[in-house]
Symmetry: C2
DNA sequence: GGGGTTAATTTAGTATGCGAATGATTAACT
DNA sequence: AGTTAATCATTCGCATACTAAATTAACCCC
């Protein structure tokens, strides 16, 4: 029994809803795979960056991932506890802490990194190259638009 | 200092990363506006559906929004506490609980619903109609692809 | 070189979200 | 009718993520 006011955008047609659902689909897919290795998805993000570039500071990690500092602190603390990383106070600027992968953390790359390839491959199945490009292009433009919007307010 | 293995997909080029960042941009934009009205974003989702169709069961709300039952329970409990909804045990099937907006909950529609319009408008600024359609089309296809993938595993 | 500002990290508090397990009720099947 | 299965809501424990505020360290400017 719908109300007469059909003017309200149906949730499932809005850009925000689409972004939300798509993000959750990726998260679920990835989490399902990582659970087998006892790696929470929140740690995966940091591992992935560190595999490419070891020794980053917490700030640099946060910035690259678009994740707030406090969230990073909690994730990295757990990762150190689990022996995936070492946190080393920077000697030339003692405000900073550099994050280095342990052997265990490095070794996970071979095991885990195929997942992202798998998932991206599956996700883009039967979607044209042009559409994939459009998706990325629109994603980025939306982010820029909303950032500009926030900045203005 | 990048490692020589450039084979790993850069995070910011993967579909998953794009979906994640875009979702967060929407969330931030919406949250900033809702905070002024003391409405947590987790309650907004339910309000939005109820404005269109009042009296749905918790299960129906969860399904429409793609949110798990336990999350819905917590959100609706807070909403009842805040006087936005009434939870009424269904008489013909006493397992169900129907959710009805209070006057206060209904009244919020006029105040809050413009936001989603604003944000969607801003988000889609300077993006062609075709690209918007492609974004939605790809979003949905990705979800279907990943669901099929999960089901297979 | 002191005082104020900025930067990086941390703590505390709260909200959101999931999976697994449980309770309560109804439906389905002998 | 009585047992079993399915459905809806809930509780619990944990992970993720934010804001606000505190802490420590570095920088800058007079």
């Amino acid at each position: 029994m719908l109300k007469q006011t059909e003017l309200i955008i149906k949730p499932d047609e809005s850009l925000g809803f689409n972004a939300r659902m798509t993000h959750r689909a990726f998260t679920r897919a990835l989490q399902a795979r990582l659970t087998k290795h006892n790696i929470p998805i929140g740690q995966w993000y940091y591992l992935r960056v560190l595999w490419r570039e070891d020794g980053l500071t917490q700030k640099a990690l946060s910035d690259q991932l678009g994740i707030m500092g406090p969230t990073t602190v909690v994730a990295l603390r757990a990762m150190e506890r689990d022996g995936l990383i070492k946190r080393v106070r920077n000697e030339s600027d003692r405000r900073k802490i550099n994050i280095y992968l342990s052997e265990k953390g490095k070794a996970l790359e071979t095991e885990l990194s195929p997942y992202i390839e798998d998932i991206n491959l599956q996700a883009s199945d039967e979607i044209s190259e042009e559409d994939i490009e459009a998706f990325k292009r629109v994603s980025e433009k939306i982010r820029l638009n909303l950032e500009a919007f926030e900045a203005a307010a």
